[in-house]
Symmetry: C2
Subunit: 380 residues, 2 copies
Amino acid sequence: MVGISRREALGGLASAAALPEAAAAARSTPSIRLRKIATEEAFMVPEFVEPMRAVLAKGGPSLDLPLLKLLYERRSPTAPAPPPGSRDASALQLLPKLLDIGASRLAEMDANGVDMHILSIAMPGPQMFEAAEATSLARVANDRLRSAIDANPKRFAGLACFAPQDPSTAAREMERAMTALKLNGFIVNSHTDNLYLDDERFAPILEAAEALDAPLYIHPRAPSDGMAAPFRDYRLEGATWGYGVEVATHVLRLMMSGTLDRFPKLKIVVGHMGEALPFWLWRLDFMAQPGSRAGRRNKLTPSEYMARNIWITTSGVEDPAALRFCIDKLGADRIMWAIDHPFQPTPPAVRFIETAPLSDSERARIAHRNAEILFKIDPA
Amino acid sequence: MVGISRREALGGLASAAALPEAAAAARSTPSIRLRKIATEEAFMVPEFVEPMRAVLAKGGPSLDLPLLKLLYERRSPTAPAPPPGSRDASALQLLPKLLDIGASRLAEMDANGVDMHILSIAMPGPQMFEAAEATSLARVANDRLRSAIDANPKRFAGLACFAPQDPSTAAREMERAMTALKLNGFIVNSHTDNLYLDDERFAPILEAAEALDAPLYIHPRAPSDGMAAPFRDYRLEGATWGYGVEVATHVLRLMMSGTLDRFPKLKIVVGHMGEALPFWLWRLDFMAQPGSRAGRRNKLTPSEYMARNIWITTSGVEDPAALRFCIDKLGADRIMWAIDHPFQPTPPAVRFIETAPLSDSERARIAHRNAEILFKIDPA
C-alpha cells in the first residue's frame, strides 16, 4: 500500500475543484480572435421614408404606429421631449442609424470587433404599403442591400425583403434576390394585413423559400389587429411584450396548421432567444401531440418541428442562463448570435458572446459558424 | 505531516466524485417521506353545471367556449367520438373528476402519495355568468369548498373564488372567505368581461386581497376577445398557447400600469412555470426600465416586481431544466409544486417533484414548505 501525503491528496482535490473556474477564465479571453457575425441587424432605405410617413398620416388600428411615429414623424420643435436616456428619446435618434449602411455603422462595428452584420430591412419593411408600392419598394431595398454588400463584401451580408401583399410577385422577387442578387435569405416582419404565413394565399412564398433553400427570418412587428387590444395600454405592444407574443404565435400557427408538414424543408429563423418557445417546449409537446385536438393539423410534435425547421438567435436577450437553457433544449447548432442594431447597443452584445460560459466550440458555432452555414457566408 | 493511505485518499476522492450521483439516487428515494402539497388543483360544484350550459347556449365570441363545450355540453349519442387517447377524448371525461372532492380524488391522491390538494374552482369559475348569479354562485362554491375541507382537513385546502363583475360585493365575499370560512387565498381566472385587474373598477378586489394578506392565484382562461383572433384557429386558444399568453399579459399589465405600485403588498401566484415570464426577464428588464416609454407607469423593473409580488407554480411544466432555470432566476422560495388535477395526470407530476435534480432543501420548499407559508397551511 503506497502512502501519499495529505498535502498531495488535498492538492489534487483543490486543483480539481479549481478547474472549472480556470477554464471559464481562459474561455472569457479567447486566444484566437472570435469571428462575430451578427444576424438580426436592421437598416432602412431613404425611399421608404416618405411612404412610411404616408402610412402614419393614414393612421388606423395598427399597433406598429407608436414606434413608427417615433422613428419617422417629423417632430415639431415645440413637441415635448421624452426624458433623456429613455427608450422614447433614443427612438427619436434611430432613423439616421438605420439609414447608414456605410461609414458610421462600420466604425461602430470596428470599435466593437464585430466582423459582419447580416442586414435586414427594419420592421415592418414594405408590409404596410399598398401592394404595388410594396412590391416596387421591396426591389429597391434589395438592390440597395446588394450595393451595400458590394461596397463591403467582408462586412455585410443581407436578407431580402418581399411584399407578401402580392404573393406570386413576391416569389419572383425572392428568386431574383437569391439568384441575381445573391443575398443570404429572407426577412418577413410577421403578419401582413393581419394574416399569417399559414394562410393558403402565401403558399407561393413558402414554396419559393423552400425551393431556393434559403432561410426565412420571421422578425417581429406589433400584434395583429385581432390580438391587439390588451397590448394597446402601457406601451405593451413592442419589444417588452407584444413582439414576442406575435412571433411565437406566428410560429405556432405554422406548426399547428400543418404548414410545416406541407413545406418540410422550410428553414425558419426567429430572434429573441426563440421568442420563449424553447422554454415552453415541455408544455407544448405535452399539449400538442399530433391528433390531440380536432382542428389541429400538426403531424409532428413542436420539439420535432423545432429540431427540423427552426433556428433561433440571441437578439435582445443577453442572458447566459437563457442561452444555456436553449443550448440544452435545441443544441448549439441551432443558435446564432445577434445584436439587433440599432435597437440594442453593440458593446454589451459583444461582451455577451465573448464572455458567456460556453465551450470554445459552442462559442464559435453561435458567434459565426452556424450563420456561415445557414446563410451561406464564406468562412473567414 | 500525517500520511494517509492512497486507498483512503482515493476512497475519499471516489466518494467525493460519486457524491452527486449517490445523492441524486438518495434524493429520488427520499428516506423521509416528502410532504407534497399540490397548489393548482381544480374542482367544480354541481350548481355551476346548468349555468355553464346556459353560457354555452348563449354562445358568443369567447374563446373559452371550445373547452367548456367539451366539459359541459350534453353529448348526443350519435355525436362522432374524438380519437381515443386524444385530449379531446379525455376532456369529455373530466366533469365527474372535477365534481369529485371526496372519495375518488382522495383515492388517486393516496395511490400517488399526494398529501394535499389546494382546491380552486375550475376555469372560468363564475366569471362568465351575469353579475348577480356570479355573486351568488361564488358564495355557493366557497361554502362547498369549506365543507370539503372540513370533511378532510388534512387533505384539502382551498382558494376562494369571487365575482369580479361586482367588485365591491366581491370584496365582501373575499373577506367572508378568509375570516368566516378560513380559506387559504383566492383564485381569479384572468380577465372578466375582457377587462384585466389593472382596470380601476377592480380596485376593491385588490384592496381586499392586500388587506387580508391573502395570495391571489391568476389562473388562465382563453385570451380575451380583443386578442383572440390569431388563437381561433387550430385550437391555439388553450393550454398549448393561449392560456400562457393571456396570463402573462395580465401580469405585465399589472406591472406596467403601476397597479403593483398602488398595491405593493399584493401576493400574486401564476402557474405553468410563471407563464414563461422568468425566461423573458432579461429582456423585460432591459426594455421596461421605469420611465422608458411615455404611457408606462411602472416604478420598478419587472424583476423587482417578480421578487416582491409574484410566486409561481410548476403546473403543467414538468421540465427539470425549466425548474432549474426558474430557481436560478427567482429563488427556490418563490416556486410551488402543482399537479393541475384533473387536467394533467398525477403520477408524472409526483415523479417530477420526487426525482427532479434538487437539493433536499429546494425539494422540500417547492413540494410543500413554500405553500405552507404562503397559503397559511399547518406544517404536517
